[in-house]
């Protein structure tokens, strides 16, 4: 664990040391300029101090060469920072294909976590060591932000849409989770822990948890309970489109646009179905805004994502 007076954060994810490296690079550049200018200014102020009351400075107006030098060097350094930072950002943004999925919903003022196997927890997130974890984030109410300093990752949870974040933990232990986007009274109380475990400990933990069914199973149950199934059938006899294989496909809309089906499209289709009408269908699907919670929505999405080939029951929930 942390010492009681740390000056530098622990680095416990695969990305953390990369972020630190960039940090030290910019720190070096910044320190160089800070020292250069401060020393020069103080030195000049002493060296060229006024000796008698009527003294004036030398007649120097400027130098194009110097202006160029001190624009181009900072510019080049700034570009190095930009490209380095941009490259790093892509790596922070793009989860590996084999990442395991975890669903997290922010709500004033707690984090609700759902593992694909069905175990749920609040303000705690157990993850296995060394395995990429991809978190799909939603929000029930206002903006929140899921932040794990030891992993150097953070992402806003935005009401009305889903966002993603990923990491691979590289050290066992428990680390802070903070809500980093201001969200009201208990913003500073919306904190929790990520507990990184050896993979076999994690399996044991999962097995010991009270599972209320996997996310996919729950999604399937909801699909029946909410009567989605009355319109979305496995054959084309329903009033709504067949949802098998819809995830990842390209859908033609009535107004001529095309969209690729991703999590946010699925979300919108349930919460705001009139926004995008599939070509060839009537805008009759009711909105489930207010009926379906953000958590249930994530389960429905998890379920719809598995409706791929012939085995809609496959339990791994979105590998």
């Amino acid at each position: 664990m942390q010492s009681s007076f740390p000056l530098f954060p622990q680095a416990a994810s695969s990305i953390a040391s990369e972020v630190d490296l960039l940090y030290f690079f910019i720190l070096a550049v910044a320190s160089f300029f800070a020292v250069l200018v401060s020393v020069a200014v103080v030195f000049f102020a002493i060296k060229f101090r006024r000796r008698h009351a009527d003294e004036i400075g030398h007649d120097i107006h400027g130098s194009i060469a110097l202006e160029l030098i001190w624009s181009i060097i900072p510019f080049v350094l700034a570009m190095v920072m930009f490209f380095w930072g941009a490259d790093l950002y892509f790596r922070i943004a793009r989860p590996p294909a084999d990442a395991m999925d975890v669903y997290v919903v922010g709500k004033q003022w707690m984090w609700k976590v759902q593992h694909p196997e069905g175990v749920r927890e609040i303000n705690e997130l157990h993850v296995p060591l060394g395995r990429p974890v991809r978190i799909t984030l939603g929000s029930e109410d206002v903006l929140h932000d899921f932040y794990i300093p030891a992993f150097r990752v953070k992402m806003d949870a935005v009401p009305g849409k889903l966002t993603t974040l990923w990491f691979t933990a590289t050290k066992t232990g428990s680390y802070h989770v903070f809500c980093a986007e201001y969200c009201g009274t208990q913003h500073s109380g919306m904190i929790g822990q990520v507990i990184v475990m050896e993979p076999h400990d994690y399996e044991a933990w999962l097995a010991g948890g009270r599972s209320t069914g996997t996310a996919v199973q729950n999604g399937e149950k909801l699909f029946t309970q909410l009567a989605c199934i009355t319109c979305h059938k496995t054959d084309t006899s329903g009033r709504g489109p067949v949802l098998t294989g819809v995830f990842g496909s390209t859908v033609q809309l009535m107004d001529g646009r095309q969209v690729i089906v991703d999590e946010n499209y699925l979300r919108e289709s349930v919460m705001n179905p009139q926004a995008k009408i599939v070509l060839g269908y009537q805008p009759i699907m009711p909105t489930f805004q207010g009926t379906v919670s953000e958590e249930n929505l994530l389960q429905l999405i998890a379920y719809i994502k598995t409706l791929k080939a012939t085995t809609p029951e496959s339990p791994e929930g979105g590998q």
């Binding site: 943004a93 793009r94 989860p95 799909t136 946010n264």
Partner: protein, 98 residues
């Protein structure tokens, strides 16, 4: 600024504006597909330009006034362009929220 336009000019501009209004209403009933909005905006832009140049007299004004008058619209383009630049490139990476 002390330029005084003829009444005739004003009447000409007025008639053009009325005709252009009729034209927008007319073209709104035609279907140009994706070009519907651009056509409507082009006509509105033309009308606005006539008002600015003649009724507001920018045509006869100093270059400074011309620059000032244009700058508002340039800044609008920055606002619209960069904001829509965000929305139009959403999800290109294929991960929600990126």
């Amino acid at each position: 600024m002390s330029h005084i336009s003829s009444k005739r000019l004003f009447y000409t501009i007025f008639v053009s504006l009325i005709i252009l209004t009729g034209l927008t209403v007319f073209v709104a009933r035609q279907d140009f597909g994706a070009m519907n909005t651009p056509v409507a905006l082009a006509i509105a832009g033309l009308k606005a330009t006539l008002v600015i140049l003649y009724f507001m007299g920018v045509r006869y004004n100093t270059p400074l006034t011309k620059v000032v008058a244009a700058s508002g619209f340039v800044w609008l383009i920055i606002l619209f362009g960069m904001t829509m630049g965000d929305y139009l490139t959403r999800s290109w990476l294929g991960f929600p929220g990126r």
